[in-house]
């Protein structure tokens, strides 16, 4: 029935790890999944009440008004086209509508395109930038790449120490300065990476709210300075979003994209209860590739975003 979901399974070699990951992803999105399974599973006809309940579930999963309306309109259209009448037929149609919406976002990061490949991370306070850098370092090392971390958060107390500790745990060099200017720290790191023939530089920045104009100017400067250290860099600007965030995620995507031309998103902390829908809201309002999603505190819990897996987990589909 869900043929499109199986394709990606067959060409994955590391199956046990993948199943563990899918399990955690599913557990993370369980509340939404359970609600939808219950809704579609109890049978009956497709009627306005069903649509209304579906709307409620989508809204409480942070899908947002606009994307919810869009999905429901698509759904109604498909139902008419295919002459569906039974509630349990709706699940697959919804899966397809979601896939159409989310598939364009599933573009994995290719960190081999340049050497060194410079990745800059940005986001609001507490989104999980520094933690994500640790996990990304681990992920990239797993792909046989050498990694260097730049402690560009010179504002928050002990952000530098936090990154250095990550570096020590993963045996990765961290370039840091006591105090100082974030742009200068990252400039040094990019130069060091060139000299040492490192494959990937991960540059941390301080968290900032998008309403702080001077901080948004500061991060623009950081990006300009990186380009001075290495023309063409940064090759990737990742915006880290906390999956707990509601519709404000859209403002964040827009404001950071305006300032930095964001090339990819990292969605962290998906392992709560009623989350994940915000990806659909972003896909609708301001589509930017989702490079990674995180569903746990473990070092391996940050993985590339695969639309099929995500939807299967969200809808509680079994493979």
């Amino acid at each position: 029935m869900f043929g499109f979901l199986k394709k990606s399974t067959s060409n994955n070699t590391d199956n046990t790890a993948r199943i563990g990951w899918l399990g955690r992803l599913k557990a993370g999105l369980a509340r939404t999944g359970n609600q939808l399974s219950e809704l579609f599973g109890r049978g009956g006809k497709i009627d306005d009440d069903l649509y209304e309940e579906l709307e409620t579930i989508l809204i409480t999963s942070d899908v947002g008004m606009d994307a919810t309306r869009f999905l429901l309109a698509e759904l109604r259209h498909q139902v008419k086209e295919l002459r569906l009448t039974e509630a349990d037929q709706l699940k697959e149609v919804l899966a397809r509508c979601l896939l159409k919406l989310l598939a364009p976002l599933a573009q994995p990061l290719d960190a081999g395109a340049h050497s060194p490949f410079v990745i800059m991370l940005a986001g609001v306070n507490g989104a999980g930038k520094t933690t994500s850098i640790g996990k990304l370092a681990k992920y990239l090392q797993g792909q046989g790449k050498s990694v260097l971390l730049a402690a560009g958060d010179t504002f928050r107390a002990a952000a530098r120490e936090q990154l250095m500790e990550w570096g020590a745990r993963n045996n990765v060099t961290v370039i840091a300065q006591q105090g100082g200017d974030p742009a200068a720290v990252i400039f040094d790191a990019v130069q060091a990476a060139q000299a040492r023939k490192i494959d990937v530089v991960l540059a941390d920045t301080a968290g900032r709210l998008t309403t702080q104009a001077h901080l948004m100017d500061e991060i623009k400067k950081v990006k300009r300075v990186i380009a001075k250290a290495l023309p063409g860099a940064p090759h990737e600007v990742l915006l880290v979003l906390d999956a707990n965030t509601g519709q404000n995620a859209l403002s964040q995507v827009k404001a950071f994209d305006d300032a930095l031309d964001v090339t990819g998103l990292v969605l962290t902390k998906l392992d709560g209860t009623a989350k994940g829908g915000v990806i659909a809201a972003i896909a609708r309002a301001h589509p930017i590739p989702v490079r990674f999603i995180g569903v746990g505190e473990g070092l391996d819990d940050l993985r590339p975003f695969v639309a099929e897996d995500f939807i299967a987990a969200l809808l509680g589909l079994d493979e």
Partner: protein, 450 residues
């Protein structure tokens, strides 16, 4: 982009103002808008439903009593219900216990517990003259303890050193002993961020609570939180006898949807709100003001409070005297106003607190922080004599000033024109009072682009 709650509701109320009479059907329209606006502002759905029902009941009741001005009646109802939902008056920290009074901080990862612990310590020390001890029980996140230590050192607050090899409960109890021995009035216990669904971690914080018997257990929640705020608040509220909520990152552009949800679910008062990255950025929560802000009435009271705190009183009085005299208002004063405006967070921060209609009007006049910076640059390029007597600035001086500030002569002219208008208005103010001043208001906004 995303309409904020204030603008959305302003629109609804504007529509209603045009209506001669409040009927069941136009309440429906208005309520649908209210519902939508609240959902888009991340107020959780169950809370939204209950709120709109309450408003409807209250509004229909009022219609019977008197339908002279239905629009105003509905605004009143929404405002009252919103205030009610956000809790009664502003509640401070309860310290009435045998010292040390223990304050336990709990919340999700990245909510801002550590920063808030530092801000709270500073606030209690300064406003209540208390001796505070900070301790971190976060043995999980790398350098979390170091972060609190650095914050404590920066603020000059006592810090009880802990180590990641210790158990959180042991750390907390040792810190409690230490606080007792050293006569601290308050012990603030920072904890690791945890998810409501993480049973082991929730058990740990229950254990901490049982061991410490804190007088205050504060739930720290990010103002940007989405629909999940209800679930998280519910689980934390069930696991711990919470005594209050602190809402962080309210200086962003997400407007307190989570505040409504969390307040509604836990039933606990929001005691403080985090409004800045700076260590002074923790303020008492005022439900009435928040409701006003949501309704597009603007947060003028906060603005006045802030002005009081940030603006140099002596300078302000000097200026007031000058204005009274009607002359002598020169470019130095003009610049002083700009500097003071910057102290309050710049134009954008001020706009945030203005009523929605006013801030929209102001946004149309292209006033932004950049324009303000440019004005300051131009004034800085003038000699003291020029600042005191702008009328001596003629063509050659203008060229020099423009070159110095890196702008066109045109911009210098614009500034001088604006200054002249402001000066005129100041004279009007001294002679004719407020009414004339309001008429002259247009010239007050120093927009460069017009």
């Amino acid at each position: 982009m995303l309409d904020n709650l204030t603008q959305r509701l302003s629109g609804v109320i504007k529509n209603l103002r045009g209506q001669a009479r409040l009927t069941e059907s136009n309440i429906q329209d208005a309520l649908r808008e209210v519902r939508m606006a609240l959902l888009e502002a991340d107020v959780a759905l169950p809370v939204v439903k209950e709120f709109t029902t309450q408003v409807k009941e209250a509004a229909l009741g009022i219609e019977v009593v008197g339908n002279l001005n239905p629009g105003q009646a509905l605004i009143g109802v929404v405002h009252r219900e919103l205030t009610k939902l956000m809790g009664a008056a502003n509640v401070g920290i309860n310290l009435s216990t045998v010292p040390p009074a223990v304050i336990l901080m709990a919340g999700l990862q990245g909510a801002g517990k550590t920063t808030t612990s530092g801000k709270l310590a500073k606030l209690l020390r300064e406003q209540q003259k208390k001796k505070v001890l900070l301790v971190s029980c976060d043995v999980y996140r790398p350098a979390a303890i170091e972060q609190l230590r650095a914050v404590a050192e920066q603020l000059g607050i006592d810090f009880y050193a802990s180590d990641v090899s210790q158990k959180p409960v042991d750390i907390a109890l040792a810190a409690h002993d230490y606080a007792k021995k050293h006569h601290h009035d308050i012990l603030i216990v920072d904890t690791a961020g945890r998810l409501a669904v993480d049973e082991a971690m929730m058990a740990e914080i229950k254990q901490l609570h049982a061991a410490l018997k804190p007088i205050e257990t504060l739930f720290v929640v990010d103002a940007m939180t989405g629909q999940d705020a209800v679930n998280t608040a519910k689980v934390f509220g069930e696991a711990l006898p919470l005594t209050g909520v602190i809402l962080t990152k309210l200086d962003g552009d997400a407007r307190g949807g989570a505040a409504l949800s969390v307040r509604h679910i836990t039933g606990k008062p929001i005691k403080f709100v985090g409004v800045s990255e700076k260590m002074t950025g923790l303020e008492a929560f005022h439900p009435e003001r928040m409701a006003s802000r949501v309704l597009g009435m603007g947060d003028v009271l906060s603005l006045i409070e802030e002005a009081h705190r940030e603006v140099d009183q002596a300078e302000a009085e000097k200026l007031a005297k000058k204005i009274k005299k009607g002359d002598g208002f020169d470019l130095n004063d003009f610049k002083m106003q700009i500097v003071q405006m910057r102290k309050m967070g710049g134009v954008s921060a001020l706009m945030d607190k203005l009523p929605a209609q006013l801030s929209q009007a102001a946004a149309g006049s292209k006033v932004d922080d950049k324009a303000i910076n440019r004005i300051e640059g131009i004034i800085n390029s003038m000699t003291p004599a020029e600042r005191a007597k702008p009328e001596i600035i003629k063509a050659s001086r203008k060229r020099r000033i423009a070159a110095g500030a890196g702008v066109q002569v045109m911009h210098v002219n614009q500034l001088l024109n604006q200054f002249e208008q402001t000066q005129k208005m100041m004279k009007m103010f001294s002679k004719g009072g407020m009414a004339k001043m309001m008429r002259g208001m247009k010239g007050m906004l120093p927009g460069m682009g017009r």
